[in-house]
């Protein structure tokens, strides 16, 4: 008799997903899948709209990291209005966008670590679900919960002064930005009362990195072996190899650190990356064309970025980066739970970059937009909090969008998340006589490490709304249990 376990919905991730695990007669896992069960359709209904609407329209994909879509679409439109890529914008235009982006990275990473992931670390994967949530954290670890809330607020307010609104702003427009940063706005962040200033944010980010390192020392086996598997890694890097979350060239490395995609221009991404469709999920499976569907899949996100980058261009984060790299002797880090470590180092980097930008007088200048010769096609790429984000548009002579292709960060991590689920299912569920809630949460912990944004935010608090269904070999439901 085949047994089917369904985890639906997967909780403490952004969006709706479910996991199915099939067991054979002996309780061994024969198949496991992460299904994305929602359908959005943005690529279709953006067609026919004027191109300058795209950055504002497409960001509605998400309420957690809309800035990523806003900026990726704006970058594609920069190409279309002839402003070029990357440093083609005015200094104020590019730096305002960078500030917006680092505010976004900061708040999103903080949200994930403090609100979504920390309950698993602070209480344990198999702790009572009634306390294993952000409310439980707020009750027992008040300081950590408050830090998480205040750090997120800081990032959101950076977004507000650059994009116009904390969520779904309009700041980035084709060829630049629609506002600069006033001295008053700047001083709020540089010299705001404790804790709402950028120095405190850097200090708290450093504390968070140290918290994780301490946790790692105490739980080395869990952090180093849980859902660890070899993979390729892909991200943007600056042309000199530095980590750059806003702009750069595409680099991919294999599991040994060998470059398999050599710093190519994002405008040419279609030459190197393709997507496979599978009939059991609305999420596609991207892969490197040269290596095929079987071997060409890759990981994106904080772990991949720390693996592909040669260095981080901010001093405190660079110091942490060196320690991170030393842990694997300079080789790529393939441990899923180290994603948290990498994410917190990036949080520190984002805080340092915000400080650098806030001190930059270019943000007070008035040269906001640049335009050149209009073309009909553009690609905008950046490193969103969850990984590499691709936006590709074609526009007709009447300024209407005729084609849009979006490969979002979580899509890039589709295969890795499925493999992570399989790793955990094999190691923790296979052959067990009894399937506990803790075991099923372990599957979710593996998915959560990738901070997937399955669409707009949806969070289940309190008792995990987990439904387990048992099917016989003819797919008849024989038992159903809701915890």
């Amino acid at each position: 008799m085949t047994k089917k376990i369904t985890i639906e919905p997967v909780t403490r991730v952004e969006g709706h997903g479910k996991v199915t695990i099939y067991l054979d007669d002996n309780g061994n896992v024969v198949q496991s899948r992460l299904h994305i069960v929602e359908f959005r359709g943005f690529e279709r209904f953006v067609q026919g709209r004027p191109y300058w609407e795209a950055p504002v329209l497409v960001q509605r994909l998400c309420g957690i990291c809309p800035v990523s879509h806003h900026l990726a679409a704006a970058k594609a439109m920069d190409v279309i209005v002839g402003a070029g890529t990357g440093d083609g914008l005015t200094l104020t235009g590019e730096k305002m966008r960078r500030l917006m982006h680092y505010g976004q990275i900061f708040q999103s990473h903080v949200l994930h670590f403090f609100h979504l992931a920390s309950p698993d670390l602070l209480f344990g994967i198999d702790a009572d679900p009634a306390i294993r949530n952000i409310i439980g954290v707020a009750m027992k670890f008040k300081d950590i919960a408050v830090q998480g809330v205040m750090m997120r607020k800081f990032g959101q307010e950076i977004i507000e002064v650059t994009a116009g609104k904390k969520i779904h702003g309009t700041g980035a427009i084709p060829g630049g930005i629609n506002k600069n940063l006033s001295i008053e706005e700047r001083d709020r962040f540089l010299y705001g009362p404790d804790p709402m200033n950028v120095d405190k944010m850097i200090s708290w980010s450093l504390d968070a990195v140290n918290f994780f390192k301490d946790y790692h020392k105490k739980h080395r086996e869990l952090i180093d072996t849980f859902a660890a598997f070899p993979s390729n890694h892909l991200s943007l890097v600056r042309k000199d190899g530095a980590m750059d979350l806003y702009d750069g060239v595409i680099r991919a490395i294999d599991t040994d650190g060998k470059k398999i995609l050599h710093d190519v221009d994002p405008q040419d991404y279609l030459k190197y990356i393709a997507e496979e469709v599978k009939n059991w999920s609305y999420m596609k499976f991207p892969y490197l064309v040269e290596y095929g569907k079987k071997d060409g899949w890759y990981r994106v996100g904080p772990l991949a970025r720390l693996n592909t980058a040669d260095f981080i261009p901010s001093p405190l984060a660079q110091k942490e980066f060196e320690e991170f790299k030393a842990y694997t002797n300079g080789k790529p880090n393939n441990m899923s739970m180290h994603m948290h470590w990498a994410r917190l180092i990036e949080t520190l980097h984002a805080a340092e970059m915000m400080k650098e930008l806030l001190n930059d007088p270019d943000l007070q200048k008035d040269d906001l937009v640049i335009k050149g010769t209009r073309v009909n096609e553009g690609v905008g790429m950046l490193e969103a909090p969850r990984g590499t984000l691709f936006h590709h548009y074609r526009v007709n002579e009447n300024d209407q969008i005729t084609m849009a292709n979006l490969i979002v960060s979580t899509t890039n991590n589709n295969e890795p998340m499925n493999i992570a689920v399989r790793c955990v299912a094999d190691s923790m569920i296979s052959g067990q006589k009894e399937i506990t809630e803790g075991m099923l949460n372990a599957v979710e912990v593996a998915i959560r490490a990738y901070d997937p944004c399955l669409s707009c935010a949806t969070h289940a608090l309190g008792k995990m709304p987990l439904e387990v269904s048992l099917y016989d070999s003819k797919n008849n439901l024989i038992d159903k249990k809701r915890t």
Partner: protein, 233 residues
Amino acid sequence: MSEKIKFTIDDKECFAEKGQNVLDAATDNGIFIPALCHIRGVKPAGACRLCNVKIAGRLMTACTTPVESGMEIENDIPEIQDLRLAIIEMLFVEGNHFCPACEKSGNCELQALAYRYQMMVPRFPYEFPVKEIDASCPKLIIDHNRCILCKRCIRSFKDENGKNIFAFKKRGHKLQINIDEKLSANLSDEMAQKAMDICPVGAIIHKGKGFDEPIGTRKYDKVPIGSDIESVV
């Protein structure tokens, strides 16, 4: 000097020039009566019906009704307010008004009225009509999804040579604004912006200008529609 006449709106004593319409007279007395089709100085059309007021127990459009001496007008009463809200709701459900991605958001009079009248969920079902976008003009886009057929553009916009470039085409529920392809091809940027500004919604869009006005500086970001009129007296 023209003759002044006396009348009341909601029992408030008001004065007007003889021959003025009720809407303009109310405005001059610091009383806001909403309208989406009316432009002062342009012959009223009574198209949007939002300016309905009650005179001697009858509903009358304020823009097309001349004010008379001793007239007693009811404006800010629950019946009228609900009627106006219903009309706003109808305008929303009859078109495809997606404020989140509309560049007129913050400057849109329909959106501003929906806020002022606290529209939540429309009482009517959404029609989600299939509408087209006419983007063939080099300077303008006509987005029929957002057009409320108020005729402001037809009645008040002329190109540099004094010629009308907007007109109605088709009939009944298929009625839509048409833009003269040849004449509109020569519009200057300044005139294209003027056409966009005349439109109370986001149906006429000046190409390539989208979202260049930051949130916080748009017309209705800080104050509700009508507050400029109400603050005068």
